[in-house]
């Protein structure tokens, strides 16, 4: 009845999720370094907020200032500046809130690590719960066999009592 918690499988699933996240990050950064200048400018703009919009990137916003940001980014890419240098310029003017993703350092690491931490915590809780259920550790501390015996005893007593009452 005791079933082993599949720790290797769970670890494999966690590693797969981490690898998928790494691939997404790699995809974003590679789109900044390949393609036409417009495509690269779009990729850089997608990492910056539109300063006059709510929750829209400079790549997605139709606002004139976002269009001008895209034009400026394209111009700077043509001039040989790197995406990181361009982002640093916008951060110098606006502050770090202009970045759509928080920088991966200091306290700002928290939102990067929290999902992984919460995912692992969820797996641990689920694993512990499954182990508790499959190891027969019920809430009363008695095994299922003992419970059935106790129930049978109660039923027999009740039947005996009923027969006695009928007689």
């Amino acid at each position: 009845m005791n079933r082993r918690v599949p720790w290797p499988e769970l670890a494999l699933a966690a590693l797969s999720a981490a690898a998928a996240a790494a691939l997404v990050v790699a995809g974003v950064s590679s789109s900044e370094s390949s393609g036409t200048v417009e495509q690269r400018a779009h990729a850089v703009a997608s990492t910056l907020k539109c300063p006059v919009c709510h929750d829209l990137s400079a790549a997605d916003s139709p606002a004139p200032v976002a269009q001008q940001m895209r034009a400026q980014i394209a111009e700077e890419l043509r001039a040989g500046r790197t995406p990181d240098q361009i982002r640093a310029e916008f951060v110098a003017s606006y502050g770090e809130w202009i970045l759509l993703s928080p920088p991966q350092r200091g306290f700002d690491l928290l939102p990067w690590l929290a999902p992984a931490f919460l995912g692992v915590a969820g797996l641990v809780v689920t694993g512990l719960a499954i182990r508790g259920w499959t190891s027969g550790g019920g809430t009363s501390g008695t095994s299922p066999v003992e419970t059935i015996e106790a129930d049978r005893h109660l039923v027999e007593n009740a039947l005996a009592s009923l027969e006695a009452d009928l007689e």
Binding site: V52, L128, A129
Partner: protein
């Protein structure tokens, strides 16, 4: 029993972490944006006036107090601060204070006709491609930057400025840093 304690601890840590993040989120107003330029050198620019009559370079104004106002003809709040800017321009123009307007997100035609209609006396500069507005981190209009004689940004005022704010800041910058 040990298993249950471990599970309870994991849940408690998770809830505590979520509570901490929520608490930190509630302590700051997302609408208040930091003025990153304050205390730093004001980004230099050389821009033509909207009528094309002259070019002004910020660096050439070193030694003066500069009141740099971003505005647009469609901006209603900008109209409400015009008396304060005009007052500063009139009173301090010969006393080492330069008032400049930079048209932001506006067409040259609209900016010119607005300036003519309202007889704005201080120089109004065109900002092609909003390069200067982006360099100053403008997020909305009006925004006014007070630049000291040393070329550093002393104050950023988001929203209309009042006469008291302009007057107080200009006097403070002219007096220099406290000993």
């Amino acid at each position: 029993m040990k298993t249950r304690w471990a599970a309870a601890c994991a849940v408690l840590v998770t809830v505590a972490l979520a509570g901490l993040l929520l608490g930190l989120g509630l302590t700051h107003d997302p609408n208040r944006l930091p003025a990153t330029l304050v205390g730093r050198s004001a980004p230099d620019f050389e821009l033509a006036t909207i009528d094309g009559s002259q070019r002004i370079q910020l660096r050439s104004l070193r030694g003066d107090v500069v009141v740099l106002n971003f505005w647009a003809s469609w901006c209603l709040a900008c109209q409400s601060e015009e008396p304060a800017l005009e007052d500063a321009f009139t009173r301090y123009r010969d006393r080492g204070v330069v008032v400049l307007g930079i048209s932001f997100q506006d067409s040259a035609t609209d900016a010119r006709s607005y300036a003519a209609r309202n007889a704005i006396p201080w120089p109004l500069l065109a900002d092609p491609g909003s390069r200067t507005g982006l360099a100053y981190g403008v997020t909305g209009l009006p925004e006014t930057y007070f630049i000291g004689p040393d070329g550093r940004v002393a104050l950023k005022q988001a929203g209309p400025v009042s006469m008291q704010v302009v007057d107080g800041e200009v006097k403070r910058l002219q007096a220099g840093p406290p000993p």
